[in-house]
């Protein structure tokens, strides 16, 4: 059993009283005292997450664009402004999801960010898919990454890097910009405004300390999960995996079907599935009473069939439980969940559950 890996912020996490747990082979902070408090700080102020366990991959070469047009279901041809990004699934031949990722257009080619738990698999997959393309890709293990999220995130980050104020002021959502070796993007996994900063590993500890001094709260994986769940954002390995079609995981909007001549990996399988008729869909579930919906719990839809909760937790903003579930296509506005042996009524809603700090569904 190999020892868990540590990010360059390990000592900082301990200094901030982080409670360390194993996540995808990395020793990461689950919280620094209270995940509910950290969640609230991101919704109302600013919090930061060490995401250095994720992997930045730089892609270059004459065929970089055409290679990515085959590799991922969204189309990088849409990226025309430097620094602009898109979110996409990377599919296998069955149309299942190998990983979900973000790709940015850069001066040298593209920058991609992939999940921690799938890094080895993804890099091996990309290597196997390189054949016939004049393309290079490089995992940037020299870079660390910090996500600063919340309504005050940009302001507080700029207080630490005032030299970047005008550049960041002009930054569009889902766009990044280079400043020497730092890459700052207006992206995130919380549903709030914020930044994700990719920077040399040696620089991150000082940035973390400066941001604490500027009033940004360190936040752990616990809050990260409840924030993204409220925002209706998928978690790889839970809401989708290699055996789930993006069309059954709420990712239909990330697939670029035109032009039909772009035969991206998994396209044939998706077209067949669409022609045959999809069987499942992704929905949000709401439990307004007591109890917490959890991954793996069975969803029963009387007269229709069964589904499963793919991500469930407590929503600190709503103060009750919400979940993402994969259910039969004909599921209507209500369902039941087997909650520790007790059949419990839940409402079926469209996600996100929370936007701009407020409940969205009625």
């Amino acid at each position: 059993m190999t020892a868990p890996k540590r990010t360059p912020l390990y000592e900082e996490h301990l200094a901030a009283h982080g409670k360390m747990v194993d996540f995808a082979g990395w020793e990461m902070p689950i919280h620094y005292g209270s995940q509910l408090k950290e969640h609230e700080l991101v919704r109302t102020d600013a919090g930061m997450f060490d995401v250095s366990h994720m992997t930045v991959v730089d892609i270059s070469g004459p065929d970089a664009k055409t290679w990515l047009q085959k590799l991922i279901a969204n189309d990088v041809a849409k990226l025309t402004l430097e620094g602009k990004a898109l979110y996409s699934g990377m599919l296998n031949a069955k149309g299942g999801v190998v990983d979900d990722l973000i790709v940015y257009l850069t001066a040298y080619g593209y920058r991609m960010v992939i999940n921690a738990g799938t890094t080895d698999k993804d890099l091996a997959w990309m290597q196997a898919e390189r054949g016939g393309f004049d393309v290079e890709f490089k995992a940037r293990r020299d870079l660390a990454m910090l996500a600063v999220q919340g309504p005050n995130a940009l302001a507080k980050f700029c207080s630490v890097r005032p030299d970047l104020t005008s550049q960041l002021g002009a930054l569009k959502v889902f766009q990044g910009v280079f400043s020497d070796a730092w890459f700052v993007a207006r992206t995130g996994y919380t549903g709030e405004d914020g930044l994700e900063i990719m920077l040399p590993a040696d620089d991150i500890a000082a940035l973390f300390r400066q941001l604490i001094a500027a009033g940004v709260a360190p936040c752990g994986l616990g809050a990260r999960d409840t924030l993204r769940l409220e925002a209706g954002m998928n978690l790889y390995g839970h809401d989708m995996d290699e055996n789930v079609l993006p069309l059954e995981a709420g990712m239909g909007w990330t697939i670029s079907w035109e032009p039909q001549t772009r035969r991206f990996n998994g396209r044939d399988a998706l077209e067949t599935a669409r022609a045959d008729g999809l069987r499942m869909k992704q929905v949000g579930l709401v439990l307004e009473g007591r109890g917490v919906l959890r991954d793996g719990q069975k969803v029963l839809v009387p007269g229709v069939g069964e589904g499963v909760i793919t991500s469930g937790s407590f929503s600190p903003t709503l103060k009750h439980s919400v979940a993402i579930a994969r259910v039969p296509l004909a599921t209507g506005a209500s369902a039941q969940v087997d909650l520790r042996g007790s059949l419990t009524d839940v409402r079926v809603v469209k996600m996100p559950f929370v936007r701009n700090g407020k409940k969205v569904f009625d």
Binding site: S34, G222, R290, V292
Partner: protein, 127 residues
């Protein structure tokens, strides 16, 4: 290192007991709330319920998991903490004070003698 007040009694299932005027107040320990993480719901027993030692008395549900709360000593439930139902996080922030769960009149006061004291509970949890 968790807090283990020396004036209380404990059981292996991580409940504490305080004897006050013939009534036993029960809650979960600091160690338990640390393991659970932020508590979001509690289910308390019915007032009037007669419970045996080690019988399920309720549930404490955190963001992480749901966990049973056990009655540490046989007796009748005479009061439950409604403030805790409204503010379940009190079991995290004040586990030995405002985060109490329920009060029982023990069937047999002498049963308290057989329970763990602070030192024995500390050993039990490896502290």
């Amino acid at each position: 290192m968790s807090t283990i007040p020396s004036d209380l009694k404990y059981v292996e299932s991580h409940e504490w007991l305080r004897l006050q005027n013939g009534v036993v107040i029960v809650g979960i320990t600091d160690h338990a709330q640390e393991l659970l993480g932020d508590v979001v719901f509690v289910e308390l027993p019915q007032v009037g319920a007669h419970l045996a030692a080690d019988e399920e008395a309720g549930v404490v549900e955190s963001v992480k998991a749901a966990s049973d709360v056990f009655c540490p000593i046989a007796g009748e439930v005479v009061e439950i903490n409604e403030l805790l139902e409204a503010e379940p996080q009190l079991s995290n922030t004040d586990p030995y004070g405002q985060g109490w769960f329920f009060k029982i009149v023990p069937s047999n006061l002498a049963d308290l003698d057989g329970l763990l004291d602070a030192a024995a509970y500390a050993t039990e949890i490896g502290e």
